[in-house]
């Protein structure tokens, strides 16, 4: 299911001609609505749910609903991007919550010490 930008959170990257989601989308699908200045996916059918825009949004305004093969509506997968980790929260259609913390960068300092 294609990404949806929450209009209360999206600020159109402050009226920029090219917001971050538009810049990062590998399929060049995200764009700004000319009137509302909010981001939207212009070809929902072409989106392959890579979630790049969802991770990149500086205001965490974009949400991606899971494909029905993975979870029925309203199943969701929401990232929380840190400096060297991404925390994924998966909420399935029954409201069950699972969380995964993925290290994206491992620094040598992480090993010892409690």
């Amino acid at each position: 299911m294609p990404p949806k930008a929450d209009p209360t959170k999206c600020d159109g990257c402050q009226g920029e001609s090219e917001p971050l989601c538009e810049q990062v989308c590998p399929g060049n699908l995200m764009t700004l609505d000319k009137e509302t200045r909010k981001a939207y996916c212009r070809e929902p059918g072409d989106c392959w749910d890579c979630m790049t825009c969802t991770k990149a949004c500086p205001r965490q305004a974009i949400q991606t609903t899971l494909q029905y093969q993975i979870a029925y509506f309203p199943g969701k997968l929401i990232p929380l991007v840190g400096t060297n980790s991404v925390t994924w929260t998966s909420i399935d259609c029954h409201g069950r919550v699972e969380r995964f913390v993925m290290k994206t960068l491992v620094s040598p300092d992480d090993e010892d010490e409690d």
């Binding site: 959170k9 913390v101 409690d114």
Partner: protein
């Protein structure tokens, strides 16, 4: 990066070691080994023995970074920096950690919690210290080009100062003459010297300075760029008579069929459409007011023996590339005809104070003689104060100069015409400071003062005078007085900021909302460009644009010159040679930047521009180092030598332990200017708050990147408190507001991922809000206990 860190823990002669179990701290730190060169406990580190131990240890263990856990940074700052410098360590590699006010004092009744908190804080600071590096000095040459909008007293004074300091000044004036309102005045109080004298002096000095370019009849039509690299589009109207070839014979004026009111004399006299300006430094011997011309008339062209008249001259466009702009647009008089009961415009003998200035000026319409415009010489003159001013129906402010100006005029009339009776009708005589002397002088000269705001001014039945009625509020009775000439002391109104500059400052051209200048209090509700009166009196939001003179607020000539020098000083601060840059100037890591321009948008000061590669760069000279950009960058690629997201992330991700069973672990980012002072004050006042709250001072809450929360919450931190300044008190204008907005956003995300949004709170603390801080901290920790531990805790 620091690879050999020394941790020094000071007992502070019992102030720390009394509440914190030093052996417990040592035990807690046993597994902190990596990149640690020394862990040293000392009961009194700032004493002579402690100081020499510190110096020796740095040398012996070859430490490249030192964490001193003890008193807050403001205490013994110089001492520890000197000791470090003596041992060859740069001062910025001495990292201070406050475990006295920050840990021992506020947790006196919870020694176990305090001990664990001290361990936690040391680990957090160790996480930051690992990324510390000595500062590399950077230098930049200042910007020496400045545009001054307005050639009145403020503009001229600022120009002369700046040109004298070696800057290239472009001075524009929309009128055909320099000197502004001052050129129209007669005498200057309190010395009763000639207003024209000082202006002429300034103009002559400027004209002989090759660094100053003066454009008359010129306005600013466009403004692009940013501080340090403005591009101003200047439009110069023509005066339609070539000043070089004009001989000043005056035949054109004789031939001109148009007669209009002379605005230089405030309508006291008439002039032709072709006229010779009666002013210092005119644009030419004769100029044509094309707006007054009859259509198709070209009599002046026909009679000019020199062929100097060119009615088809087009305006000239110039582009000025400048670094800074001073706005000295000044003021305009209140339109007295708005108050009908005072009869201005209806009765010829009711004039304004500015008309009286022109009347009394030797170059005025009557050669400096006092007269009634309806004919004859006045036997009595009556001044009405506060015309329009201090009146909610017209302009609510006090215009600050009218009392002194009327007293000056009254003294002047009494000196020149001792037999003329002079009355002053006033609400309050507001002559402040030394100007009180004017009041005494006027009283001694025989001026009669009546405390009233006149009800009506009417023509005297059957006579030539005017009857003024009102209520004498001191005597408590009505009065009626006859006067030949009534002078209305009209107040000052701001002339306003040129539209393009206002748009630029507000960012309306960049799609931002209007009215931000007003909401931030930098522009008063009445249109004066006040700036922040105490902290940043000469600043607009956009850096590089500074107001000066009466456009700031009503002020007299003395204050105008002072204000101009203040604004000039702001320009000079970015105009020096080889200026050393602050280590807090942000640097963009181009490898990480994807040119999203959020830094540019969030910068409250508009100091960012695009470099040749299209990457955003701040102008380091104009940057105020608030680091809102560091907090805004979605890719965390903006950092500074002294402060970075990664250092704070090092603190947030440090592996810490609960300060007590079931105690929530809270990290509080507090603004170092205001909120942190409240935290310190709370400790000094003996107030206690839960030990689980770990305070991390930051430059401005706006510099807190939300990634820290996104990193910290999954890392097992139970809650985040962010404490910014009180509304409207942020030193960086928007820092606290931007943070509140960001936190509101992250709360929605937290709610979406089924984490309680209450785990993040934003609070506003003034510099002395110690009790509020403690109350909020207790409530927050209590709330977190109710919610329970972070769902991420089991994952760690």
């Amino acid at each position: 990066m620091a690879i050999n860190i020394g941790i020094f823990i000071c007992g502070c002669k019992g102030a720390v070691s009394g509440a914190i179990d030093m052996a417990g701290v040592e035990a807690g730190l046993t597994r902190v080994k990596k990149k640690i060169g020394a862990k040293i406990f000392h009961p009194w580190l700032c004493g002579p023995e402690g100081v020499s131990l510190l110096g020796d240890s740095i040398a012996r263990h070859k430490l490249d970074c030192v964490i001193i856990a003890g008193c807050p940074e403001t205490v013994h700052r110089d001492l520890f920096k000197r000791v470090a410098a003596d041992s060859g360590l740069p001062p910025e590699m001495v990292i201070r950690l406050d475990i006295r006010e920050g840990c021992a004092l506020p947790h006196g009744s919870d020694p176990r919690g305090a001990t664990q908190k001290a361990v936690n804080l040391i680990k957090m600071w160790n996480g930051q210290a690992r990324l510390a590096e000595p500062y590399k000095p950077f230098y930049e040459d200042g910007n020496k080009d400045v545009l001054i909008v307005g050639g009145g007293l403020a503009g001229l004074s600022a120009s002369l100062e700046l040109a004298g300091a070696g800057l290239n000044v472009v001075l524009i004036e929309k009128e055909p003459f320099l000197g502004g309102r001052t050129a129209q005045l007669n005498k200057v109080y309190p010395r009763m010297c000639d207003a024209r004298c000082g202006v002429t002096f300034l103009i002559n000095r400027l004209r002989e300075n090759t660094r100053v370019k003066i454009f008359n009849l010129t306005e600013i039509a466009g403004l692009k760029g940013s501080a340090g690299r403005f591009e101003a589009d200047l439009i110069s109207r023509s005066n339609f008579i070539d000043a070089e070839s004009c001989t000043g014979c005056g035949k054109c004026a004789e031939a001109c069929p148009v007669l209009v009111a002379d605005d230089f004399n405030f309508g006291l006299a008439d002039r032709k459409a072709v006229y010779s300006p009666w002013s210092p430094d005119p644009a030419g011997p004769y100029i044509i007011d094309r707006a007054a011309c009859l259509s198709g008339c070209d009599r002046c062209v026909a009679v000019c023996p020199a062929g100097a008249v060119n009615l088809r001259a087009e305006p000239i466009h110039n582009v000025a590339r400048i670094g800074s702009i001073i706005i000295a647009t000044g003021w305009k008089p209140f339109a007295a005809e708005k108050i009908e009961r005072l009869g201005f415009g209806r009765y010829g003998n009711v004039i304004t104070n500015l008309q009286l200035e022109r009347m009394m000026s030797p170059d005025g319409p009557a050669g400096g003689k006092l007269y009634c415009p309806d004919g004859g010489e006045p036997g009595s003159v009556l001044f009405v104060q506060c015309v329009g001013s201090r009146d909610v129906n017209y302009q609510s402010w006090c215009s600050a100069v009218c009392c002194a100006a009327s007293l000056k005029q009254a003294i002047d009339i009494k000196t020149l015409y001792p037999n003329v009776r002079v009355y002053v009708l006033y609400i309050d005589i507001r002559v402040t400071g030394e100007y009180e002397d004017l009041y005494s002088r006027a009283q001694e000269a025989g001026v009669v003062f009546v405390r009233t705001s006149p009800a009506e001014i009417m023509p005297e039945p059957g006579g030539r005078g005017l009857l003024v009625t009102g209520e004498d509020t001191l005597m408590g009775r009505t009065f009626k007085v006859r006067a030949d000439l009534v002078v209305l002391a009209t107040g000052m109104q701001p002339a306003g900021v040129p539209g393009v500059i206002k748009e630029y400052i507000e960012g309306t051209d960049r799609g931002k909302g209007e009215g931000q200048l007003y909401s931030c209090g930098l522009m008063s509700q009445w249109g004066f460009f006040t700036g922040h009166k105490q902290c940043f009196p000469f600043e607009a939001m956009a850096q590089g644009i500074y107001p000066a003179g009466a456009c700031q607020e009503p002020m007299d000539m003395g204050n105008t010159v002072r204000s101009a020098l203040g604004a000039a000083c702001k320009v000079l601060s970015t105009a020096g040679e080889r200026l050393e840059l602050s280590p807090f100037v942000p640097v963009v890591d181009k490898a990480g930047c994807d040119k999203c321009k959020r830094c540019m948008e969030e910068c409250p000061y508009g100091v960012w521009y695009f470099d040749e590669g299209g990457y955003p760069v701040p102008d380091p000279l104009y940057c105020k180092t608030c680091l809102l950009c560091v907090g805004a960058c979605p890719r965390q690629c903006i950092s500074t030598q002294g402060f970075s997201v990664h250092k704070l992330a090092g603190a947030v991700t440090a592996k810490v332990k609960e300060t007590g069973p079931g105690e929530p672990h809270v990290v509080a980012f507090v603004c170092e200017n205001d909120a942190y002072q409240a935290v310190l004050l709370a400790a000094r006042m003996g107030l206690e708050y839960p030990a689980g709250l770990h305070v991390v001072p930051v430059r401005c809450t706006g510099s807190c990147n939300m990634v820290l929360l996104r990193e910290g919450l999954p890392g097992g931190i139970d809650g985040f408190m962010v404490a910014g300044c009180r509304s409207g008190e942020c030193h960086y204008i928007l820092g606290a507001d931007r943070t509140e907005e960001r936190l509101d956003n992250i709360k929605i995300t937290l709610r979406d991922i089924m984490i309680e949004p209450e785990r993040v709170i934003f609070t506003r603390l003034g510099v002395r809000d110690a009790e509020k801080f403690v109350r909020e901290a207790r409530e927050f920790v209590h709330k977190l206990k109710e919610i329970g531990p972070s769902p991420f805790k089991k994952h760690v």
